[in-house]
């Protein structure tokens, strides 16, 4: 008796096209084997349990865990985002909305010509796949390990640019401020700018 189902031909379709295959049903296990199952559950009671007491104890995530996004800054405080919308185009869930804006001498938010004027991520839609991070040409968009993103209103889960921007670190100056004297956006991109210009720091 063949132990596979033969492919059907339309010409001889009848009930015998499917061969009868007898399945060997294993009988009930022996009493000892069954008792072993009871021992498993009983002995498990005395093992250390795996529960993390979450709100009290917060276990660190894996280092590359996909959490909330962050919009990074250059070392002098200018934003890295140039408003190119590549992240929004890459997003499979259509969670990102970007509007670019022109940098003007009085309103220089990022190096070069353009900055992200509006930047929204809708965390009701985001699936945390990270394609936006891969798409970003300036490394402006990365992901943090923050995972506590629950809230009680839909509006609260649409994060604006201010919510996503990285905090100002030591030596950074809040934009808008002019680019580092003598540096181009290419220099910024290559990492030649290490801090805000001393003259600007004094101003603040």
């Amino acid at each position: 008796m063949s132990d596979f189902i033969e492919p059907r031909k339309n010409s001889d379709l009848d009930i015998n096209s499917v061969p009868f295959v007898e399945v060997n049903q294993p009988g009930p296990a022996s009493l000892l084997t069954q008792a072993k199952g009871f021992w498993v559950t009983f002995s498990t009671m005395f093992k250390k349990n795996q529960t993390v007491q979450y709100p009290d104890v917060k276990a660190p995530t894996a280092p590359r865990f996909h959490g909330r996004h962050q919009l990074n800054r250059h070392p002098d405080g200018l934003e890295k985002c140039i408003g190119c919308e590549l992240c929004a185009w890459a997003c499979p869930a259509d969670a990102i909305y970007v509007e670019g804006g022109n940098n003007t001498p009085g309103n220089q938010l990022s190096p070069g010509e353009r900055h992200g004027a509006v930047y929204q991520i809708n965390y009701l839609r985001c699936i945390f796949c990270g394609l936006c991070v891969e798409a970003c040409p300036t490394r402006a968009l990365t992901m943090t390990n923050e995972y506590e993103l629950a809230d009680d209103k839909r509006e609260k889960l649409i994060f604006e640019k201010e919510d996503l921007l990285a905090p100002l670190r030591q030596g950074m100056l809040a934009p808008p401020h002019p680019m580092y004297p003598g540096m181009t956006d290419t220099n910024y991109y290559n990492g030649d700018v290490k801090e805000a210009h001393p003259s600007q720091q004094v101003q603040n």
């Binding site: 009930i15 015998n16 009868f20 007898e22 199952g37 498993v40 009983f42 498990t44 250390k48």
Partner: protein
């Protein structure tokens, strides 16, 4: 003085106090049982279980109860309203009633009155429990029927079939106890075990059958077919919400505690201490017997939890097969043996006769089991090929071909 005489002298107010006590014990032990079950099952699955509300989460089931009571009470439009409301009341009331004849302590002093913590003592106490728990099934069946919905109806029907099947095995396993104790009164059965030896030892097969059928009787895993989540949503209580659902929940747990208490009473010596620890029964003015009783009930409750943590649910046909083809015949045969031995003992038969009878039984058992084995081997032999019928039938091991067009092949 027997317990019945002791209880007969109770004034009305002490009966009232005892009724309230029994009710309170049932409700509080339900709350504790739910918490214990969730914690123990969690431990069996490497989890912690509820530990937020109150110390160690002890108040979790209380807060769940409050939450249930405050929820919206929905009665489906298709439901038979009167029966829909009555069903949970029947289920709950009957569970509490079965507790009335369980002896929970020996002779104790209750508010300056010498009595025992047992509401009443009937000469047919155990039969009364069986009757009352059977009426409790009406609650489940009527709930399933009156919901006006398919799954509850299926759950209710399954439940009735299940309880009827396992009630028979349960009742038969108790017959051996009646034969041995010579009484159907719970307190008399406890006394007879105190004078001799626990029924769990002498009537071990009955004990096993009772423990299995009490799980079937209470619709608990692995026999929880009436509320099989994967198949029937919630079973008979799918359409129930709020306090009515809470009543079913309460009924289930009181029922578990009631059958556990009955098991402790009939097989493990009731409120008496284990052999060798009899001196403890005088502690706390006799109230220590209550602790022994609770310990024994909890032992059975642990078995319930252990089963739930270990075994998957049975298929419906396996379940019925087990009940009707294994438990009932086994307990019938066992009753025959017990009755014969009992009669031999009472007629004053010599030891030789008893030993010969036992030896004969062993031989008979061996003969039957070897016959069964031979039948099994025979059943596994392939059948000879038969003539092909000239009407369409599905392929079978001995019929490989059919001829739809007619004629032999």
């Amino acid at each position: 003085m027997t317990t019945a005489e002791l209880l007969g002298k109770d004034p009305g107010w002490i009966i009232g106090v005892k009724a309230v006590l029994v009710f309170g014990i049932c409700v509080i032990s339900t709350l504790m049982a739910v918490w214990t079950e969730r914690r123990v099952l969690a431990k069996m699955q490497l989890r912690t279980g509820p530990n937020r509300v109150g110390k160690f989460g002890l108040l979790q089931s209380l807060s769940d109860g409050v939450k249930l009571a405050l929820k919206e009470d929905i009665i489906p439009a298709a439901a038979d309203k009167v029966v829909f409301i009555i069903a949970p009341i029947i289920a709950t009331a009957m569970c509490f009633m079965s507790f009335a004849v369980i002896p929970m302590t020996g002779e104790v002093n209750l508010f300056g009155h010498q009595t025992a913590l047992q509401l009443t003592d009937l000469p047919v106490g155990v039969l009364y429990i069986l009757a009352v728990t059977s009426i409790g099934v009406y609650g489940v069946v009527l709930a399933g029927w009156s919901s006006g919905s398919t799954y509850p109806l299926l759950g209710g029907l399954r439940s009735s079939a299940q309880v009827i099947s396992y009630e028979i095995a349960m009742g038969l396993s108790l017959v051996a106890v009646f034969i041995y104790a010579g009484s159907m009164s719970t307190s008399a059965i406890v006394d007879s075990q105190h004078q001799n030896i626990w029924n769990a030892v002498v009537l071990f097969p009955s004990f096993i059958i009772y423990v299995i059928s009490m799980v079937g009787e209470t619709n608990r895993a692995p026999f929880d077919l009436a509320e099989a989540e994967g198949e029937l949503v919630g079973g008979f209580h799918t359409e129930y919400s709020s306090l009515k659902f809470a009543l079913f929940f309460l009924a289930e747990y009181v029922n578990i505690i009631a059958v556990s208490a009955l098991a402790a009473t009939l097989f493990l010596g009731g409120y008496h201490a284990p052999p060798g620890l009899g001196f403890t029964e005088q502690w706390l003015g006799g109230w220590f017997t209550f602790i022994w009783f609770i310990t024994k009930v909890n032992l059975f409750f642990f078995i319930f939890m252990w089963l739930r943590g270990t075994l998957p649910r049975l298929r419906y046909d396996q379940f019925m097969k087990f009940g009707w083809k294994v438990l009932i015949p086994a307990s019938l045969v066992w009753i025959l043996i017990v009755a014969t031995l009992r009669v031999l003992q009472q007629e004053g038969a010599s030891r030789v006769v008893v030993i010969a009878f036992t030896a004969g039984l062993v031989l008979l058992f061996m003969a039957v089991s070897s016959l069964v084995d031979r039948n099994k081997a025979k059943a596994q032999e392939p059948l000879a090929d038969g003539d092909a019928p000239d009407f369409p039938v599905p392929s079978l091991p001995h019929l490989r071909s059919i001829n739809v067009s007619g004629g032999q092949q």
